[in-house]
Amino acid sequence: MEGNYTVLNRLTNGIFKENPIFKLALSMCPAVAVTNNIRNGVLLGLAVLFVQVASNCTVSLLRRVIHERIRIPAYIIIIATWVSVIDMVLAAYVPAVYKEVALYVKLIVVFAIIISRLEVFACRNKLWPSFWDGVGMGVGFLFALVMVGFVRELLGSGTVWGYEIVPFRPFFFWSLPPAGFFAIGLLMALFIWVEKKFEAWQQKRKEVRP
């Protein structure tokens, strides 16, 4: 089962080919809920990145220990452990950041993207590829949240990372939760369109210079 994975392959897979939001459409609830500004998106994205990498590594190391039939509960325990660890560490050592992210950090336990990566990848691969898979997926998630947050914050409040870009609120609708679906849907379409164009261009290049 253990394939040949390179670092670059894992990173591009997470960010483009299997982007958690735009391609796999996993963990959409938090993506819709917290992305009315970039800042929230970045904070949640970073927390997910950490938990994804840590859980991937743990599961990859323990893949021969965890019994096949209880792997899902075992994964949940592992994810919950890491989430609680970062929750406590942030609360103790960086209270200023914790005040902002406390709500989202606790939510990560139930993120579909994390457990799906454990089930699909980490439980069948060695530590190193699993680590990079976690990084790729985490960065992909972060990237998607930043994109959605950027669009919604700019259109909804006329600001980017809290800095005023236009002195009014162009479309307040974009700040409301339902707009999250629209933003994600439209960006998803754009993302896939760009990717298709890129693939076609690559194909053409190959034909010209075989």
């Binding site: 019994h67 075992a74 592992i78 919950a80 452990t81 660890v85 560490v89």
Partner: protein, 302 residues
Amino acid sequence: MREFLKIALNLFLISLASAAILGLVFMQTEKARKRNERTRMEQAMLTYVTPTPGAPAPAGVAFRSIHRYLVEGADGPVRSAIGYVLPAQTGPVVLLLTPEGALEKVAPITGDHDLEDEAERDRAVAQALGGKVRLTYTDSYAVAVKDGQRLASFIRGRTQGFKTWVHMLVALSPDNTVRGLDILEQEEDPGLGGDIGYEYFRNQFMGRTLEALEKLKVVKLPLPRDYRMCLERSRWPKLDVGADEIERMCQTHRDDDIYAITGATISSTRVTAGVKKLVHAFVTRMRAIDAVAAREGIALTF
């Protein structure tokens, strides 16, 4: 059966390892977390030490804590009393008062205890009272002092909100006028009752004297625009309105009742009732403590 045992053991071991990790991390971080919380609290209190909220606090302000307990079975089989943990000049003491406010007993707390830590304080109080008592912790107050002068007092209390408890910090000036209200923790609906944490609601309590507070009501009327400008103090620097203009807006509405949050009348009335109750209880209790301390010659450090 063997398979069954294997699975159970496997899951048990994973849980055990996870619990061990969590326990270790908790032991490592808990002290720091509590310290952070205390600093956060003191910073919140510092903003209300001066008569104008938010003005830089003078140097050398110290906070003295008062903790209140219900004590059952002190000095006898069924004798109930109210116990106050107070800082006296000779060290911390437990002051036992009867419900009517008469002195029952003064017991010094000996030994080195961190009285801000709840579990440790409970032990210290029980020890000071001779062990065989049942303690129920009720409230904590804090008094900001500088050179023996009271600058402000603080009530940390809670009240029932629309959904669950609303924890708040009420700051009072030495003459028991409300200086400010901070909402520490709440789980009201975001966008509705959740607005109790916003300046336009909580700052409506600023400057209410004890007498005004007793008569304070909640009205279901739209918040006047100029009053809102006066209440949202953090936006003042952004407004192109002069300080005297803001002062005038605040003066116009100084005696208005509390404007309920639109769509959250219950949250608004409950918080208002909670502030009234907390302040009333605080004032009554402090009067009792001060009277007893003066009568019995107990030198308190606040």
